[in-house]
Symmetry: D2
Amino acid sequence: MSELLGVAVLGAGHMGADHIQRIDRVVNGARVAAVADPDTERVKDAVAGIDGVSVHADATSALDAPDVQAVLIASPGPAHEEALLAAFARGLPVLCEKPMVPESAGALRVVEAEARLGRRLAQIGFMRRYDAEYQRLKSLLDSGQLGRPLMLHCTHRNVSSPAHFTTAMLVNSSVSHEIDAARWLLDQELTAVTVLRPRPTSHAPEGLLDPQLVLFETAEGALVDVEIFVNSGFGYQVRCEAVCESGSARIGDEHTMVVTTDGGAYEDVAQDYLVRFADAYDREVQTWVNATREGRVVGPSVWDGYAASAVAEAGVLAQETGGRVTVELAPRPGLYDRVNR
Amino acid sequence: MSELLGVAVLGAGHMGADHIQRIDRVVNGARVAAVADPDTERVKDAVAGIDGVSVHADATSALDAPDVQAVLIASPGPAHEEALLAAFARGLPVLCEKPMVPESAGALRVVEAEARLGRRLAQIGFMRRYDAEYQRLKSLLDSGQLGRPLMLHCTHRNVSSPAHFTTAMLVNSSVSHEIDAARWLLDQELTAVTVLRPRPTSHAPEGLLDPQLVLFETAEGALVDVEIFVNSGFGYQVRCEAVCESGSARIGDEHTMVVTTDGGAYEDVAQDYLVRFADAYDREVQTWVNATREGRVVGPSVWDGYAASAVAEAGVLAQETGGRVTVELAPRPGLYDRVNR
Amino acid sequence: MSELLGVAVLGAGHMGADHIQRIDRVVNGARVAAVADPDTERVKDAVAGIDGVSVHADATSALDAPDVQAVLIASPGPAHEEALLAAFARGLPVLCEKPMVPESAGALRVVEAEARLGRRLAQIGFMRRYDAEYQRLKSLLDSGQLGRPLMLHCTHRNVSSPAHFTTAMLVNSSVSHEIDAARWLLDQELTAVTVLRPRPTSHAPEGLLDPQLVLFETAEGALVDVEIFVNSGFGYQVRCEAVCESGSARIGDEHTMVVTTDGGAYEDVAQDYLVRFADAYDREVQTWVNATREGRVVGPSVWDGYAASAVAEAGVLAQETGGRVTVELAPRPGLYDRVNR
Amino acid sequence: MSELLGVAVLGAGHMGADHIQRIDRVVNGARVAAVADPDTERVKDAVAGIDGVSVHADATSALDAPDVQAVLIASPGPAHEEALLAAFARGLPVLCEKPMVPESAGALRVVEAEARLGRRLAQIGFMRRYDAEYQRLKSLLDSGQLGRPLMLHCTHRNVSSPAHFTTAMLVNSSVSHEIDAARWLLDQELTAVTVLRPRPTSHAPEGLLDPQLVLFETAEGALVDVEIFVNSGFGYQVRCEAVCESGSARIGDEHTMVVTTDGGAYEDVAQDYLVRFADAYDREVQTWVNATREGRVVGPSVWDGYAASAVAEAGVLAQETGGRVTVELAPRPGLYDRVNR
């Protein structure tokens, strides 16, 4: 391969700036061609030292810049729908950060738009699918070696929640990762959700009902339980155990250097998702660049983005009502014939 | 100490015979003085080679035999109530196997009888409290070092279920261990229970709804989830993770010799509860013998036996209805002022 | 069984007092019948609260006391030879603490004395053979499943050395455990020893050359390396990895409750051999009591005691010379036909 | 950054082809500009599908090709000296695969040549320094948190040795990785070496003395022991435990998904160094490309390459003689003032 893929990055905030550096310094085969953000000063900071990048205040202007062959959407969630539709209109391949579209109604319009095109253009940024441990688990489950999966036990812990984090965000921001991971690992839709709320930790901000236990039922009768605990204090831990008919498999245990000192054996626990999933982000973007240069679209689809939104909406309702809420999905267009392809 | 404690063992079946061997060959400070079982041939087999044991067809006859200073009840559950009341009538210290009394109404009568005596005579056979790992976890939780417990995640797996095992027994036989362990570890009552039933494993006998996810709420707002899976095929695994305000602690991981061969690193998983909890059974009986010789009664009380029955009954109802069932306990007599003392 | 085995304990120091408690409070089937120590006040303290024990200033007087059917030798090493010969003269079964006899010449005299009797009376206190993890490793090696053993990698660490601990004691006191364990696990004699001495830790007392790397060659060409580090500061760690033709197996990793807090996952490391090997001591004495009551003698023999002394003497010479020293053993009497039986 | 670094790759064999793919498909910021190999057909295969690469039969012709700004030497070891000197003559930055130069005399000539230039141009391919686990260990040791290192225990196992692997290659090919790793981790030279040879495994080819225990002493009195076992049968295992004054740290344990099935808990062991160290190779080349584009030279120096050769030569002599062999190094030029910088 010789020609570098010219990428327009929409959004120059934390995530956008991170992706700009990734494309410039880590990923093979691509370059940053254009960046758009209403705050053009932020764009200039983000592209300092990178040659050949055009600066835009407006997303569509960046999509129309010369040498732009693909789009990475890292703008705030509410801007995603319009950006995705604009990319579809231009036939540009897209990598869109999660949440694809915050509300499921908008997410469904994106599904319908791509379905009308009759071919996939978008890959959605569920980066856990690119984590080496998750891929190993997925591959084991797909092999059939352990038989049919019966349950997934998931743990998702953060050190502390950012300011303004709400109880609903426990489900629609944090657990949304498990929603996608469960759909992908099990290759089936989630059909109902129940949320149990223990008495909150005293380390949670006033009013935040943290932790919670979120329970999903699936189309083929499996169960998924998720401990979400965003003020655990002790680290960023993401674990998953798949219990199958002929065995179980777990990922996400602490697996680093073992230090013995002062009467104990210690292993570090990652403090941050950017540390825990650094390789996954790199692999996600590299996979997208490689596929795009070969004219293919792979990975999580807009259907996956829509389903995640719809399940999360049901989850937030289940948080509020304390009861079981069923998930209602629109009919799936044939373009997305396999749940997770 | 010099004089050996003379123990009457009621029941010479599998568990009774095991305890007879334990008292004769393992435990310090006690001897088998009398054994009762309607099948006296079975008694004779169980005491072969042990000197000075009187053989009885009838429990009360054994209690009244010379040199009997304490009673170990290992007869079938339905015989326990009468045996406990007979021991109370004679002022004999008792170790009673679980379930203390199968139905909570009978269990409550035992509580009331002992409460009328005004002093404890009975220790109930919840042997997990004597397992070294559980004791370490209990001691950590009691230390307050990790703050208030918020959730317990429990796993309870057997290789396969015995013949005639019923769906109800998943809760009232298997999960009854977690019911007691959770009450003990958290030092609070369980107040409600919900049971989720995934599509059963194809390795379960026809009609057995295995595995299940059993969810308990506690008096102080903690949550307990239990995976019960009695036809897991792969081993006897009992794990528990306590999630607290300032950290988590887990016990029950595989912890044996690591063998590396043929491309993998392997650790054995116990296949049987008698292997996994062998030391706990020994320690349970030794603790009872030691306390009895010193005129003390310690360990799980008849209130613990009653509470376990009542929670298990609510659990079976929750299995059947698919909904949340609250646990209704009688008022606790002052004799049992602390939940777990 | 009914009659309790009457045991004479020689020595009422730290180890003797510990064994007196063990026989009185833990072990099944035995009782303390007599205790001897030149300091009879110490004896009286050690047997306080135990009925029916005669107190002696002199070892032979204790051996001749009524009801004494077996002897446990826990007096200082230099007194062992005479005590063993006295027990042999009376035909009394013996459990003798290590070192059996500090110098190999004396140890050989004990071997010759028992060989003349034509039957075994003594079991030597190499308690690691009774540790559950070592037994699992031994059983795996004996099964032949991993093929012929090629190397043993051993680690032996203490928190800190007691006062007056000498460089020679690194080998003849600490590593003597690995000497016996290696002979037992591999079922072959050690034939040569080399000691490498890194620059000592600054935490060792002045003049103590700690840590060291002790290397043994065996009769069938295996290698054994031992890190001995008695001022490690961090815990009591005993690990062993057997490398075989078709796989390796390791024991002794930290295997306790995993606590996650403050950015790390922690497991406790035992601080003391009495904690790490508590069960092994109990099992050692119980095994001896059981065998003695059945008229059998099992476990480590006086030949094992002699061989350990001879290898340790070669090891101390290798420490001093910095070179390789061969081990010269006397011919083995037929009574000890298998190395480790 | 915009301009891609033009790299000449010398050698299109297994390793060369692998690096060509890495530069073309994985690494950011570089491109393959020229490739040389006496077998030009092999070159054509290796660069198929890559635009803008010139094909050469001769190394110097590749160095002189247009757009060549840096050189990656992956030709057979005997060709390295000439290639390094040619690169030095042209002032081209080099990444040279190990062994830098097979014999220490030639390696020393390279050191002298670069020292005459007065600035570093070459980075030597000791890729373990780029492995995440080794970097974590190095960083812990450098922090001083565990005090002075006293010993390194190393394990290096392969599934099976390639055809024509010799006993000498156990040291000068396999253990040469540990030689560099030990020098780097400890930041000091190795001064003497002793090799112990147990009876070989029956799985080794006739005449190959496998496994061996290789012992190094260091300039500041630390010890390094290495189990080298190239026909272990069970996997590619590279482990290292650093024992320090205030604690120990180990890396290289199996750390993957834990699968429980059929009575055991299993973790995969890597079968191949390209799997175990895949990320390290990528990081090594990326680090070199980044530094080169910034006009810097970092990582293992030609002095490190020379020292590794000299220690390996002493090791092979120690294998043959069975005794201790001291390592004699030429005086270190000031350019390489720190051992490992």
